[in-house]
Amino acid sequence: MSLLASAFTLVFVAAGIGFFAAGTLGLVRLPGTLSRIHALTKADNVGLALIVLGLLPQAASVLDAAKMVAIWLLAQLASGAVAQVMAEAVMAEATLAEAKDAGDAAPPEESRP
């Protein structure tokens, strides 16, 4: 049984790391911040999910297992929102640049008077 659990853990952790690796590769190879954000969050979320799944049999108690799932949910939520925050920043920057090209933009405020 414990051998089976170990094998289960190893397989899933290895798969999770594979997804992390794919995410990193995407980060390195993809052009543009937006596509990088996309690659990173997608791959990392799946990777983390697989690792959590793989480690569940190793949890010392049911509470710990629940905590691990909670961590995954939280990370999911945070990374999704972070991706949106960052993407929004990219878009806003692009809009600003366009507006600037049009010549009607106010200069960005650097510091509060």
Partner: protein, 97 residues
């Protein structure tokens, strides 16, 4: 088993480092922020792997904290450096009740 988990954690760290390095040299500050997010995600995974490897389930609390605060830096970055949109210039919105 513990050794294999440590190996997995090491691999994750190395992956995060590789991503970090490439983004650091190539990108702008937003990309760098993204790289820190990557490190945070890898950190959560590493802590999860270390929990059974070190046999200390209180490590889960650190992972929990990391997951919770992962968003803080990105939000702070956005609040500090978010580009002022062209229509900006009005005062901050009134608080929602």
């Amino acid at each position: 088993m513990a050794d294999l988990l440590f190996a997995a954690a090491t691999l994750l760290l190395l992956l995060a480092a590789a991503g970090l390095a490439s983004l650091w040299w190539a990108g702008n500050d937003l990309d760098r922020m993204l790289a820190v997010q990557l490190l945070g995600a890898a950190g959560i995974a590493v802590l999860l792997l270390l929990t059974p490897a070190m046999g200390d389930s209180s490590l889960l609390d650190t992972a929990l904290l990391l997951a919770l605060l992962a968003a803080l830096a990105a939000c702070a970055y956005r609040a500090a450096f978010g580009p002022t949109r062209p229509k900006a210039g009005r005062p901050p919105a009134a608080p929602r009740p």
